[in-house]
């Protein structure tokens, strides 16, 4: 059995692909439309996956913990 590929194919409109090709042809850094789309999607997905979390620490707690973590070498 062939090893499972790390990549899959998704469809985007051809017009969008053309626009991205034009965009990245002028810039360095992105080798392909796939690279660009992966980059953008990663950012967007990661943004949506991050939920607002209520802060359990008071500002005094934070100052105290930061001081402790700093002294411990973590910060």
């Amino acid at each position: 059995m062939a090893p499972k590929s790390k990549y899959t194919t998704v469809s985007i409109p051809v017009t969008l692909q053309d626009r991205i090709e034009k965009l990245i042809s002028k810039k360095t850094g992105f080798k392909s439309v796939s690279d660009y789309v992966t980059y953008v999607l990663r950012e967007v997905v990661a943004m949506h996956e991050t939920k607002e979390i209520p802060e359990p620490f008071t500002s005094e707690d934070v100052a105290e913990i930061k001081e402790r973590l700093t002294a411990l070498g973590y910060l």
């Binding site: 810039k27 850094g29 979390i53 209520p54 973590l69 700093t70 411990l72 070498g73 910060l75």
Partner: protein, 471 residues
């Protein structure tokens, strides 16, 4: 090995390296030696970064830090220059072993696993929060009534962590031993008095012992002095814990499989490398006025209109780029970001020398590449100076790029990639076999297998350790 009555206990010892537990000190630790000789052991390769938070959650979810979105104790808040937050239990969204067990009605005891504050409300669990707990006055247990029992066992003073902002090492030593004894008192109490199928505890004391005393007991440390008063403190502390482990394993009983695990190793610190001063020298970071005194980067007067990148201190360096449209005063065109990254990575890898003029063996990771997916408030680059022999100093205003001490407190050790793995089943003589290639992500799937729980198809990175699960 999947049966209804499966009982597993994990004794988590923060930062214990195989070089101490399995080599230098093993002969002095009768209980651990017995478990070692009858059980399985090996080096447990930890995650990147090899830091307590996220490592214990990687171990207990089987997922890498990118999937957890946790890269250390503290994160930037979005793309702010100054705002940050301390990671707490609510930031862990992936399922832990005890949550998977709880769904099946199995009961767990969770003592001090970081990040464990505030304690999550999970049915079928008795939880005591971790060393990040601000104080004893807080609600630090689930259920809340458990707090009174913990305080009672600890004679009214349960110690989450030692005070570490002093050069008074006698005081640190005293508190360290007291803290660990109390943790084991509570562990014994919970294991004896609460129902459980799964027990896990974490002891932070080893990490504190290593950071505060490594140079005293490691003859290879540059600052080691023969005959110093703490020369055998490692042995003294490890022996004390060995005695407590012997007692605790007795409480666990004959039908319990016990693991002793650590989340990363430790090694002597070579020094601290001033990442921001280096970035300034290389033209990446600019200040509005010359920095005369030692100053935290968060408090420095950075000229963001001329700054391309800056870094954070810690056991590894986090580097952030100042990107237009992302940071408040970003200057790097997003389309040039990958080129800028590439250039800086090359510089860090190839041009940084140590204080002896030798090339530093620096490792640089990009979170997206390292993890496949990197959620949350990730840095742009993660850097290990000298394979972690050098910690990263985030402060500026030093007269050298190299500091022989930690810039933020007494510190003699840094973290290393190998932790310990030891498994002991009183009913199986496994003859001290060594297992190779163990990874911290393997623990959660192995535990789930032991309880007969099918591995969820939700991106667990680890694999089942077949020898452990009895397959």
């Amino acid at each position: 090995m999947q049966h209804k009555g499966t009982k597993v206990a994990i004794i988590g010892l923060d930062s214990v390296p195989p070089e101490l537990m399995f080599s230098k000190l093993l002969g002095k630790l009768p209980n651990i030696k017995h478990m070692y000789d009858k059980g399985l052991h090996g080096n447990l390769t930890t995650c990147h970064p090899p830091i307590t938070v996220p490592a214990w959650m990687v171990m207990m979810t089987g997922k890498n830090p990118g999937k957890l979105g946790i890269y250390g104790f503290r994160h930037r808040k979005g793309h702010s220059y100054k705002d940050g937050y301390i990671v707490n239990s609510a930031h862990v969204n992936e399922e832990t072993v005890w949550q998977a067990l709880a769904r099946q009605g199995r009961k767990s005891i969770i003592l001090a696993i970081p990040p464990g504050y505030p304690p999550k409300q999970i049915e079928n669990c008795n939880i005591v929060s971790c060393f990040i707990t601000p104080s004893m006055e807080k609600s630090f247990t689930y259920p809340a009534e458990l707090k009174d029992e913990v305080l009672n066992v600890a004679n009214g003073k349960y110690i989450f962590d030692v005070t570490f902002r002093t050069e008074n090492r006698d005081a640190i030593k005293k508190e360290l031993f007291e803290m660990t004894e109390k943790r084991f008192d509570v562990a014994e109490y919970l294991a004896e008095n609460k129902p459980w199928d799964f027990f896990i505890m974490h002891e932070i004391g080893f990490d504190r012992l290593h950071h505060a005393f490594w140079k005293f007991f490691d003859p290879t440390h540059p600052k080691y002095v023969k005959g110093n008063q703490y020369e055998h403190l490692d042995e003294e502390y490890y022996k004390m814990v060995d005695g407590r482990i012997g007692r605790l394993v007795n409480v666990f009983g004959e039908d319990c499989v016990t693991f002793i695990l650590s989340d990363h190793g430790s090694k002597g610190m070579r020094g601290a490398f001033c990442v921001n001063q280096w970035l300034e020298r290389e033209g990446y970071l600019a200040f509005k006025s010359p920095v005369a005194d030692v100053t935290d980067i968060d408090k420095a007067d950075v000229d963001w209109t001329k700054t391309k990148a800056w870094g954070w201190g810690g056991y590894y360096a986090r580097i952030f780029f100042n990107v237009k449209g992302r940071e408040p005063n970003g200057i790097i065109d997003p389309n040039n970001l990958s080129l800028e990254k590439k250039k800086l990575v090359e510089k860090i890898k190839n041009t940084i020398l140590d204080d002896d003029g030798r090339k530093m063996n620096n490792l640089v990771f990009e979170p997206d590449e390292l993890y496949g997916i990197a959620k949350g408030d990730k840095p742009d680059l993660m850097v290990y100076f000298g394979d972690l022999d050098w910690r990263s100093a985030g402060t500026i205003g030093h007269n050298s790029l190299y500091l022989s001490e930690n810039d933020t407190g007494p510190d003699d050790s840094v973290h290393s990639m190998n932790g310990i793995f030891l498994m002991y089943d009183p009913h199986r003589n496994l003859r001290g076999k060594e297992l190779k290639g163990l990874k911290i992500e393997d623990i959660a799937p192995t535990l789930l297998q032991m309880y007969g729980i099918n591995l969820p198809d939700n991106g667990i990175d680890g694999r089942v350790i077949r020898e452990v699960a009895g397959l």
